[in-house]
Symmetry: C2
């Protein structure tokens, strides 16, 4: 891989993901200067303090045109409008990319807007994160050995190879697919598990028990592990659920129907049917672990 | 706690739980002799080889009357019939107990049978285990700092205190409650999470994707953790689901209704409603961890 070096890179929204990106971009000397833009003064201060950005700004203006690459690292619900807002300031060679968990987050309007100019829009999603948020939680190796999925509207572009090179240089593995493929996969491997984890805690606490303490004492037997992922930022997940509702609702429908099948078999004490379902799924799970280890 | 010492203890079904119990009972010198009964020659051999039992038998007969305490450690579906089968051989001072994950596993007939005699039946459930099974997987410290729930039909019995003492001596913490209370709590903290974990892997593999490999690659983002508990023994879980169907189906109904509420809010893009659900459940989860840590 050739050495990549940029004069300036801007990170819009240097939170956990954005600030971790700033840290590693500087560590790998990929850009001479990292600019962070955030409307929170506190977050800009945190990002400057831990050296994940060199310069902080509170709003988007024409100065963004100086950057070669712009990473939009805001919540999913803001990505499309920010891509629109920065568009007039971009130089011809700019590449705009993002880190959102949903890849159908760009409107047709935005996509055709970027089609008219040389500046390039490349949707991306590094599958990395922790339950913490904000620049103060930034980690240098957050993306090491993690997958970064790129969902370019146009294939074989020079810009796709530039963004790929950046992610590879900071330790991530690249996968290229369509936005639909991405959102479909994430609906089952990430979004549905989070939806269930968030729901089941509420269901548990509605149970008719004199002492809730007893529920808490015995939560180690599956329940606690199971809800671990439900401790993520609620605001972020509202955005993800709503923006990926097309595939999430389809996946949820399949899941509910599979639960119903098992429920009916339990109701009718159909031992053999239940056994076959559990056995088959245990085998599938084994094959998943085998291949991904 | 006074020193407890028995001449002989029998473990019917020295699998993971039973053989681990044998190991620690011997280690703590609670019984002079541990007898294991199992219709699998292989399992009896494993249990003798790793010294979790002193003597092995392939069937239940009158010799069981020599034991002071009998632990039934078979799958849930066999517990009731074994309690019946051993009854004629018991001595007046025998205590029969079990380790099943469902505590409404004894029929009214069995309960009244034991009521007629001095020998005592005490349903129990140590909340411990691994994804492995069989005597060969026995672990000396399987019960250390784990809860053991006792669900006596009659309270304040000398026998309850004897069984409590045994569990305490081998490192477990004791909680006493009704069988209904136990089965209600377990339906949400253990049985529903297992049911979901078993189901979701199947749902995932029904997704319309050209390459299943892509699903596997990205299964680290929630999915893999989430399904970890789905690798347990299917046969054991068929028994648990069927024997606790009364409470499991109720809990499942509540869960499905909570999922439906969230599903509708996502369908209608009701950001505020979704946010409130996620935020509330994140707070409940935090309080669970705080108290149980």
């Amino acid at each position: 891989m050739k050495d990549i070096k940029f004069k300036e890179i801007t990170i819009i929204g240097p939170g956990l993901i954005g600030a971790s990106l700033g840290l590693i971009l500087k560590n790998k000397r990929i850009a001479k200067k990292i600019v962070g833009i955030d409307n929170s003064k506190k977050n800009i201060k945190d990002a400057i303090d831990n050296k994940s950005i060199d310069e902080g700004r509170l709003k988007i203006d024409e100065k963004i045109g100086r950057s070669d690459v712009i990473f939009i690292c805001t919540p999913v619900s803001l990505i499309d409008s920010i891509a629109n807002q920065i568009y007039p300031y971009l130089s011809d060679h700019s590449i705009v990319t993002d880190v959102g968990s949903v890849k159908n987050c760009f409107s047709a309007k935005t996509i055709s807007l970027y089609d008219n100019k040389k500046s390039f829009l490349l949707p991306a999603h590094p599958i990395a994160g922790t339950e913490h948020s904000g620049a103060k939680s930034a980690q240098l190796n957050l993306f090491l050995n993690k997958w970064c999925i790129l969902t370019p509207q146009k294939k074989k572009k020079k810009q796709v190879s530039i963004i790929s090179s950046i992610w590879k240089k900071i330790g991530a593995k690249i996968s290229i697919m369509s936005a639909d493929q991405h959102d479909k996969i994430m609906s089952i491997t990430s979004h549905l598990p989070h939806l269930i984890a968030f729901t089941i805690v509420g269901t548990a606490f509605k149970i008719d028990l004199k002492k809730k303490k007893e529920l808490i004492n015995f939560s180690a037997g599956g329940f606690r592990d199971f809800t671990r992922i439900g401790s993520s930022d609620p605001k972020m997940w509202v955005d993800i659920f709503i923006h990926n509702r097309k595939y999430l609702l389809k996946t949820l429908k399949n899941f509910s129907s599979d639960i119903k099948t098992l429920e009916n078999s339990i109701k009718n004490c159909e031992e053999k049917e239940i056994f076959n379902i559990l056995k088959k799924n245990k085998e599938i799970r084994k094959s998943i672990l085998k291949i991904s280890d």
